[in-house]
């Protein structure tokens, strides 16, 4: 029996109003961290195939990266397995010097050949996580030559096409596909030439601070301390992630001290825990953006004036960000995430029904029209969609909402089969303007046959060669100041040309922790490392 979420929320909000007053008992052991988390999207632990942020939070604790992105200053790269790295003067090659003496959990010695093999594997398998590498020009054919170990501690990556090597370094520091695998251990478990893909779906072969003990899908994942970790053994003996989807259950368990960290809680529950004595709320901005997009393939939205009316004047940016987005996102309207040097101040688009009506009248649509809004049936997407539906109605646009699962909604978008969509995406893992621009705006070939469904620019059928060219030249600009200027130009062009996608908010990830958990630093790229976390009681 399914009951409307709203009804459930109201009933439970009333019933649980006293839950914040539940006395704490601090039941989890001192040396264990218990995290309540939804594992609904965790389908594989294979770094070549795993999608979504959930797996990144596991991978960065089980595996090591060559480099790490500083969680407190994402433009700063920190050494990981690589002690140092050097970019060739022409920007077409990066050479890494790896630490010696690092051991995998199996006891095997980690060498540069393991790193080269791990990256080649991603390209050869061509699964979900091959995408960023393919965008740099790597292929299954050229990777053998392009990524190579010249000795036990030296890894050389030759870039097949001109790009900004900083962007590649950020991918190495943030993408789950950039972890280093224990080649021997994986190949011991190879079946039918799958390079260990089936085995790695549920196992791990890393050198990180924690060893994966067990993962029972949608039940529990357990990791224990790796005493031979090259930095120093982590302070926690065990980390347990328990699959929990009900926000209210998370709240009760957090209140009782049966879990230490809760993720994915609903806004009313986060609000309640904020004022509870034993818990605190941590929010971290992610590079991902919430957006409203229209299909420029649709004759109505092919007209710039109609796009401008809807995307710039009929979205209640202030209202949505004030009433719907707390703990989900923060006000942001640029296609480049907040916090980067290149990001321009907000353009200040506001709900202006009169201006929208005028633009619609100029486009010959004064009487409005009927349309549909596709939306993932969960918060905050549905709230944004209903808000948009009401503001569109003010200009005579009658929009019906088509809710669905993420699979259905983004599937339709990938098939270019939508009119308006409320969604979330846009890369943003790498703290570089190109990460978002490539995902959201760039569209090198607008033909249906191109099927560039990984680009949201293609999905929205918006094609602007000038904008493409600006994005490309920004990436290739080697002078930092000039590059910042180039990305400012891209944002101005985005402002003037009104592409078919409009960011409304930048994603925020909120976790609630018990106050005795120390050194928990949420990472903007989801690589939240637990090696320094401990409990102070």
């Amino acid at each position: 029996m399914q009951t409307p979420r709203s009804l459930r929320a109201v009933a439970l909000a009333v019933a649980l109003s006293a839950a914040a007053a539940v006395p704490g008992h601090a039941k989890t052991p001192n040396d264990q961290l218990v995290i309540g988390v939804s594992m609904n999207n965790l389908l594989s632990l294979d770094p070549a195939a795993a999608t979504g942020n959930d797996v990144v939070e596991i991978a960065c604790n089980v595996y090591d990266y060559l480099v790490e992105v500083d969680p407190l200053d994402t433009t700063k790269l920190l050494p990981g397995l690589a002690q140092s790295w050097k970019i060739a003067p022409d920007g077409r090659s990066i050479s890494f010097t790896l630490r010696s003496g690092v051991k995998f959990h199996s006891g095997h010695l980690l060498t540069a050949e393991d790193a080269a093999w791990s990256f080649r594997r991603v390209l050869k398998l061509n699964l979900a996580m091959a995408s960023p590498w393919k965008s740099y020009g790597f292929t299954a054919q050229n990777v053998e030559q392009a990524i190579r170990a010249t000795d036990a501690t030296t890894l050389v990556i030759d870039l097949p096409q001109a790009t900004d090597p900083k962007m590649v370094l950020y991918t190495l520091g943030t993408s789950v596909s950039a972890v280093v695998l224990d080649r021997k251990k994986v190949m011991e478990n190879e079946k039918s030439g799958d390079m260990g893909a089936a085995w790695l779906t549920t196992h791990a072969a890393g050198s990180g601070p924690f060893v994966l003990d067990e993962w029972r899908a949608k039940e529990v994942l357990m990791m224990s301390r790796f005493d031979g970790y090259w930095r120093a053994p982590p302070k926690l003996r065990r980390v347990v992630m328990r699959h929990m989807t009900e926000s209210q259950s998370l709240r009760l368990m957090l209140g009782r001290g049966d879990i230490d960290v809760a993720t994915g809680m609903s806004v009313p529950d986060i609000e309640a825990m904020k004022s509870a004595p034993d818990t605190e709320v941590h929010s971290v901005k992610r590079g991902t953006l919430y957006y409203v997009a229209v299909s420029a393939k649709d004759p109505k939205f092919a007209d710039k004036r109609v796009r401008q009316a809807i995307l710039r004047h009929l979205i209640d940016f202030d209202g949505i960000n004030t009433s719907v987005m707390p703990y989900y996102g923060v006000y942001h309207q640029r296609p480049v995430p907040l916090g980067l040097a290149a990001t321009l101040p907000e353009p200040g688009y506001k709900l202006d029904v009169a201006a929208a009506k005028k633009l619609l009248a100029d486009a010959g649509m004064a009487a409005g029209f009927k349309t549909t809004i596709r939306v993932v049936a969960e918060s905050p997407f549905t709230n944004i969609a209903t808000n948009l539906q009401s503001t569109l109605a003010k200009a005579g646009i009658e929009a019906s909402i088509l809710p669905g699962t993420g699979n259905q909604v983004y599937g339709a978008m990938r098939d270019r089969n939508f009119e308006i969509i409320v969604g979330r995406g846009g890369g943003g893992a790498e703290p570089h303007p190109h990460s978002s621009l490539r995902a959201l705006v760039y569209n090198p070939d607008n033909s249906d046959a191109a099927k560039l469904s990984n680009f949201q620019g293609w999905r929205t059928s918006y094609f602007d060669p000038k904008l493409n060219q600006l994005i490309e030249s920004g990436l290739l600009q080697t002078d930092e100041k000039k590059q910042t200027q180039a990305y400012a130009d891209v944002q101005r062009a985005f402002d003037a040309d009104v592409p078919a996608i409009q960011p409304i908010s930048q994603m925020v990830d909120t976790v609630v922790l018990r106050k005795d958990v120390r050194n928990y630093v949420g990472h903007p790229s989801a690589t939240t490392r637990l090696r320094e976390v401990f409990k102070q009681r």
Binding site: M1, T3, R8, A11, L12, A15, L16, A18, A19, V22, H25, P29, Q32, G36, L43, S44, A49, T51, G52, N126, L127, A128, A130, S131, K134, A198, T202, D213, E214, R216, A217, K218, E219, V220, V240, R242, H243, M244, T245, E246, Q248, S249, L252, M253, G255, R256, D258, T405, G406, N407, Q408, Y410, G411, M413, R414, G425, A439, K451, S453, N454
Partner: protein
């Protein structure tokens, strides 16, 4: 004629065994046909559902070549009939395929999640039956009086209140406030993995292993969700029991029994109740089947890694191997419960043996 008066053993007739074997064959054929139809229907629904299993695997941002590669790997480029044929062929070899959700063979997953739900549902149906039957009988004997109204009210509340609400309130009171019940999961994390699964039934496995602390923890975790599910079943069972009893209590043989001066307890339990046992069995069996497949909300609230959650998640992902395997299990469970209830009919109602 009173049903109690026809309980004399019937003489065995010649050719009865041959007839029984033929009937058994017919029944078996009909069961297999039902299961095949169920699979075909599920397969077709799965293929026309607007859910893309490839997208579930590769994520929304995968490029074309990756998408097409995984599409082919899943065999989705083959004609539907061929896909179904391959599925049946593998099924006959005991291979349900691998689940996208877990990466494990579906049989392994089912062996893990089914015992968790069976454990919960069995305790729940015991609670529901032990409470529901006496309450229903009591209500029938008190027809129109305050006792009857009270039972009907409890039954109405139990059946119409959303089960997740009971779950949350139960957690709030018995877990958060009183600390009597365990929280989410089948056992406290400290005991997780201590008992090696033999049957998959944690209560049984921990008892067999002599891990009494684990057993205690598992009991603490299962009691609350089982009681809440049981309360829900109790509402249904008591309502049906009342209705069956009322229909029996208005029969002439009950009047005769009372006129004969039999004690009221004998009239109720030995005469009227015995005659509703057959119907009651069907109701309890169906309620049990419903609990096995429909405990998803309570499993969600209590973080219970059971069959309901598995089936629902698989469905939302378009994970057809897991869905087909789960549907087959549900089909088999219902067929088995029907067969069991038919067999018990023969035990309790001699007329069906003719």
């Amino acid at each position: 004629m009173s049903a109690t008066s026809i309980s004399a053993p019937l003489p065995r007739r010649p050719g009865l065994r041959a007839r029984q074997i033929r009937l058994l064959g017919q029944r078996l054929f009909s069961v297999l046909l039902t299961l095949l139809g169920l699979l075909l229907l599920t397969f077709m629904i799965g293929r026309v559902m607007p859910l893309d299993p490839v997208l579930s695997i590769v994520g929304p941002d995968a490029d074309r070549s990756t998408y097409e590669q995984v599409y082919r790997q899943l065999g989705l480029d083959r004609p539907l009939v061929v896909q179904f044929g391959y599925y049946l062929r593998d099924l006959l070899h005991g291979d349900f395929g691998n689940a996208l959700l877990t990466g494990h063979p579906v049989t392994e997953d089912l062996a893990r999640v089914l015992p968790a739900t069976i454990e919960l549902a069995t305790l729940a149906i015991i609670v529901g039956t032990l409470l529901g039957v006496p309450l229903g009988v009591f209500a029938a004997t008190q027809r129109g009086r305050i006792g009857d109204h009270a039972v009907r009210l409890v039954s109405l509340l139990g059946h119409s209140t959303p089960i997740f609400w009971f779950g949350m309130m139960g957690l709030l009171v018995f877990y958060a406030w009183l600390g009597w019940a365990g929280g989410a999961g089948r056992v406290d994390l400290a005991y997780d993995g201590l008992v090696k699964p033999m049957t998959g039934f944690l209560l049984l496995d921990s008892a067999l292993a002599g891990e009494w602390e684990v057993l205690g923890s598992a009991l603490k975790h299962v009691t609350l969700p089982a009681c809440i599910l049981g309360l829900h079943s109790m509402a249904y069972i008591s309502r049906m029991t009342r209705s069956f009893m009322l229909s029996q209590l208005s029969q002439e043989y009950i009047l005769t029994a009372r006129v004969k001066g039999l004690p009221e307890r004998t009239v109720i339990w030995r005469h009227a109740f015995r005659n509703i046992l057959v119907q009651l069995l069907t109701i309890v069996a169906l309620a049990y089947g419903g609990l096995l497949e429909g405990a998803v909300l309570i499993e969600t609230v209590f973080g219970w890694p059971g069959f309901g959650q598995y089936l629902t998640s698989s469905l939302l992902l378009g994970d057809m191997n897991a869905v087909m395997g789960s549907v087959l299990v549900v089909g088999v469970v219902f067929v088995a419960l029907n067969l069991l209830s038919d067999a018990l009919y023969q035990v309790f109602d001699p007329r069906t043996r003719q």
